[in-house]
Symmetry: C2
Subunit: 682 residues, 2 copies
């Protein structure tokens, strides 16, 4: 395919490399640069140069950077959120005929079930044009359908050619039902076994069974065969996450996990979640947007050894040295053979059936391994942060709180003038954070919703939807950052101008729910599912509710969404343990009018035993430090205890953040954190 010009030609680049004494070829460099372009932009755009050499002449460094800029521009093609041209679907159908299948599944996923898969895994977007964050297409010989959830029922109509794809609701008309109603009897429906979990396939297979169709694994992915300008696998340098942040060295973590494996009777565990591997090996990467992981697989053995399957070009010498002799680095192409080796020994191997690609289980079973379906053995120890990680995240939250207070003070001054819009606010908030110590980028795309846009739970502002913050409306901003010492996630809702009585009532009910979680005391062994109702009770009393979970787990300079900890109506059975970090984010949404959400991160911690306590009790410590808009608080429907909590929380923010911010912010901060009383806002 065509490439635009770089500063130097290949010959001149070869010369520059020779001059610098580097043995690497231009072809190799071009391949790396293609991978770097397929990864999201790094905070330090030249960080990847270490994959070529430790120290580069300035001119050569500039040349390398240009290569990436170049590749990034070209790799955008075909993923622009507009309906995809119909010839792509036709090309896929041609390939289906070649492969002898009458159907093919195109999920939005990669082999790691990543929340935001890399560009080369954006097959659904390439095929259909759909740019949302969840969905699946089912392509049959003469018809096709795309399935999206309630968030995207409008968006899918703009972004997908409805002449080619029937748009269906993922939950109400699930793919399995559509297959059962539309697939011809005896049809072979193909799927890429790297992209589906065994649990996911079980549901789809039930649909096939009903119509006498068959679900068959197909490799390599037929869509990849016709996606000619498919981006490369992302490449980013794998960095050492030192013990000063991680708090425990990798050898100790590996020993702990090995002991758990040995106790369970398993010989090894297959790890396919990049954040689990990042935690276990104390490494971080930049392959995915907002999440500092490197895409890889690993097999952790009960003897403490780990085989890491990763593109070796991503490992600078420093990282190789850090991994040491007990971690064997192998190219991903050898993963299948390694699985087969464990199977050949008839060993018992742990696999997480709701995370691992079915490809992994197929290989193990075919080779004769015993499969133990267990949760990822790194998930729980990763979720329970150690003292170093907790100290780090407290520090990160103070810096993040100062940044947020600067933003909120600016907003309080500027928004009333009618000059702030959603995208401008996103930029300002980024600028407030970007200068900060240890800042490594955002932890997710900022949600910046003015007025009715605030009622769209997963709203992403675009030039087409961008609204100015207007008097008499609410503004909801949900954002977070990655710091080397911690991950943040915070939502505040602020009144622009005078809020209505209804806004104040509903905001205060959300706040009462937030406080109920923040102040909860519960026995060890309690799950987040058991706490969820506390966040909703004040809303329920007024016949209101919100349609998302109350809280998700948060990593330590890792995923902003992690398990097993969770506070929600369903699927939140994991007991909470000291050291876990969870969001506490009840909300209320009035479609077409406004949205409210109040989100802090909280640490689970053991409560010092009180007089008469009979059980070990747990509670929360609020990490987030940003004022809650008092203009929206109606103290007349709060209890004394709730008002005391609010005043104490604000006093703590004033004390900690005050010394860290400029005079203008301090002045705002004192007003924003003034004590309130039952009779009014004092």
């Amino acid at each position: 395919m065509a490439r635009s010009q770089t500063f130097l030609g290949d010959t001149a680049l070869t010369e520059a490399l020779n001059e610098a004494g580097l043995a690497i070829s231009v072809t190799e460099i071009r391949q790396i640069a293609r991978g770097v372009a397929a990864a999201p932009p790094a905070v330090d755009p030249s960080a990847w140069h270490c994959l070529v050499a430790e120290d580069l002449p300035v001119a050569l460094a500039a040349e390398l950077s240009a290569l990436v800029t170049d590749d990034r521009a070209s790799s955008v093609s075909g993923l622009d959120g507009k309906p995809a041209p119909a010839h792509r679907l036709e090309a896929l159908r041609g390939e289906m005929v070649e492969r002898g299948i009458q159907g093919f599944l195109v999920p939005l996923s990669d082999a790691h079930q990543s929340e935001s898969p890399p560009r080369n895994a954006q097959r659904l977007a390439w095929l259909t044009g759909f740019a949302g964050s969840a969905g699946i297409a089912v392509v049959l010989a003469d018809q096709a359908a795309i399935f999206v959830d309630g968030r995207y029922t409008l968006q899918v109509r703009d972004q997908v050619d409805l002449g080619s794809f029937l748009a269906c609701h993922l939950i109400e008309e699930p793919p399995a039902d559509w297959i059962a109603a539309n697939a011809p009897k005896g049809a072979r429906i193909g799927y890429d076994p790297w992209l589906h979990t065994v649990d996911g396939l079980t549901r789809l297979r039930a649909g096939c069974d009903r119509v006498g169709a068959e679900l068959v694994p197909v490799e390599p992915n037929p869509l990849d065969s016709v996606w000619h300008d498919q981006p490369a696998e992302p490449i980013s340098p794998v960095e050492v996450h030192g013990s000063d942040y991680a708090g425990r060295n990798s050898a100790d973590k590996r020993r702990d996990v090995a002991r758990v494996l040995a106790d369970s009777g398993a010989a090894a565990a297959v790890l396919t979640a990049p954040d689990s591997i990042a935690w276990l090996l104390n490494i971080r990467g930049g392959d995915l947007p907002n999440t500092p992981v490197t895409l890889c697989f690993a097999i952790a053995a009960a003897d403490g050894g780990v085989a890491l399957f990763v593109d070796p070009r991503k490992l600078p010498p420093k990282t190789v040295a850090h991994l040491g002799k007990d971690v064997t680095v192998r190219p991903i192409g050898e993963f299948g053979a390694a699985l087969a080796d464990w199977g050949a020994g008839k060993k018992l191997v742990q696999v997480s059936a709701n995370v691992a690609p079915s490809w992994v289980i197929d290989r193990l079973e075919a080779a004769g391994a015993g499969i133990m379906r267990t949760p990822d053995p790194c998930a729980l120890p990763k979720a329970c942060k150690n003292a170093t990680e907790l100290a780090g995240t407290r520090a990160a939250h103070i810096r993040d709180g100062a940044a947020l207070c600067r933003f909120l003070a600016w907003l309080a001054a500027e928004a009333p003038k009618g000059v702030v819009d959603e995208l401008g606010a996103v930029d300002k908030l980024y600028a407030c954070r970007a200068g900060g110590e240890l800042f490594r980028g955002l932890s997710f795309e900022t949600i910046s919703g003015a007025g009715p846009n605030g009622a769209i739970v997963h709203y992403h502002s675009s030039p087409a939807t961008n609204r100015t913050l207007e008097a008499g409306t609410l503004y909801l901003v949900d954002s977070g950052a990655q710091y080397l010492d911690g991950t943040t996630d915070v939502t505040r809702t602020v009144a622009v101008g005078e809020p209505s009585q209804e806004m104040c009532d509903h905001f205060t009910r959300v706040l009462k729910g937030h406080i109920a979680i923040a102040t909860a005391s519960f026995p060890a062994g309690t799950s987040g599912g058991q706490l969820d109702t506390l966040a909703r009770q004040a809303l329920w009393q007024a016949g209101l509710d919100f349609d998302h979970g109350t809280g998700h787990g948060v990593g330590s300079y890792l995923c902003v969404h992690e398990g097993p900890q969770r506070i929600a109506k369903r699927f939140a059975d994991a007991p909470l343990h000291p050291g876990m970090i969870l969001s506490n984010e009840p909300g209320y949404y009035k479609t077409g009018a406004y949205g409210i959400r109040i989100e802090n991160l909280e640490i689970v911690r053991a409560t010092p035993p009180g007089d008469g306590d009979e059980r070990p009790m747990l509670g929360f410590e609020a990490l987030t430090l940003a004022p809650i808009d008092l203009a929206l608080v109606d103290t007349s429907i709060m209890t004394i205890q709730e008002i005391d909590w609010l005043n104490a929380y604000h006093a703590r923010i004033r004390e900690i953040i005050g010394p860290l911010v400029d005079a203008q912010t301090v002045s705002w901060l004192y007003q924003a954190t003034r004590p309130v009383s039952m009779s009014g806002t004092g």
Copy 2:
């Protein structure tokens, strides 16, 4: 085996039958009488005579009654709560050798997973002597173990010969682990496929797998081959439960269930839960203690027809007429052939995998049926009571409340004299209820716990443990009754003499939890699991908790424990629907000192929409009408709203029960339901 004398000899009895013009033989009558003796005593001991003829001469009726008394006396042998003689275990091991198995599982269950299996299914008690309500033994060639839960760890030592059986904790050292540690490699461990569910076997099989042992179905049950005086299958007359109580006729219910089956694509559903069949066919029986069901199986077809597999001797002509032509009555011996017929047609059949015996699924699979593992299709419609059933249960609760008030008034007068003991209180409470209209017996064995015995959650008073109610202690009484129009279940805790401040504090926290459930408002779709925490919050704030569920479903003149509705920390995911009945019974237990529980039954009902309500909301209506002991209420830790609830609840009791009781009870009632205020008990 030896039989004691009846009034007449067989010859005289034959003559009496001939005189009455009855064709039935003495042998047949003796068999029926054996079955009647194996069933629990009925409220009307001669009710079963209708199985012989509608009208019997008085002398013959007396003779029939004597036959049963006689049989009941003889069938007690071997189930007396003392350690079983060792020769039973030896006999079983001999039979195991005959059958070629090296192990055998002896659960405490019948083919219906009944909560209280009938006498002939008390195999665990016969083999070991253990008389608790849950447990399982695993017998190997040279060792054996019995597994009981925390309630029974003391009791098992008294009732089981620990030289023959190792006593293990059911949860902490589960049978699967013990098998894995003790069964010889290659051992064949037998089980009776009628007594285990597929889900239950899965766990046990995992234990066998770990040691290379095999779990094999064995029929007939080897223990039955050596239990020579095993009681008969229980026999009791199957009665029609008329539409004036059931609210909906059986044909309509069958049509509803058939529609659900047809919609699911299933051709039929196998029903193995006697209460589901009782509900579907509007029949009741007396085969089990406290639960008015007949032991039977059924297959409900998608065309509306039902095959009922039941001992036909249990059906009086009136019931046969009621069942009508669309219900085919077949002996239980034909159940297997009927399952095979559905399989032979390659039909899709619904089975509840956590209730149905594995025998059922084995038969269906062997015959080629497709198995749909679904909840019992009767469970949900049975749980959602119709208007007639709700009116009935309200009426039953008024009569039950009057009985309970008479008891509590008596207790208030007598207990301070030191003349009341646990067993005396049980008898008095029974007497207060027994005369009542539509009374059909207790719904479970009354729990009557004085002082420290109240802290034993599933306590059953016996002459050995019987305590006198003493001043300065608490008395906990948990009881319920079956009425033709409803099932009751209520717990009250009363102070005898002056309670301590701690007792009052903890009682009030339990009460706050009870009120939080009683007053909860929640959106349609909410499960009991989501409400459970409301019942515990006030205890958690003091570092306290209780180790049982907050609420269970209750049937309509059926099981006092039914699903799917439930309020608990775990396994309570079923959404609550209007018409469901649940208990609301938080508690607190101080081992060795006292127990507290406050239990009302509640109806789930739709809340009339309020101003600004955005969602359909549900709440509860309290059914139970009995005062909560104000001597134990500390209003200083209650909110105004909680005190208002208590006063309104007591006013309602006074108003409804007052006109129904004697002057002495009324006088107590007015004192017991006096309004209280924040500053004291007014």
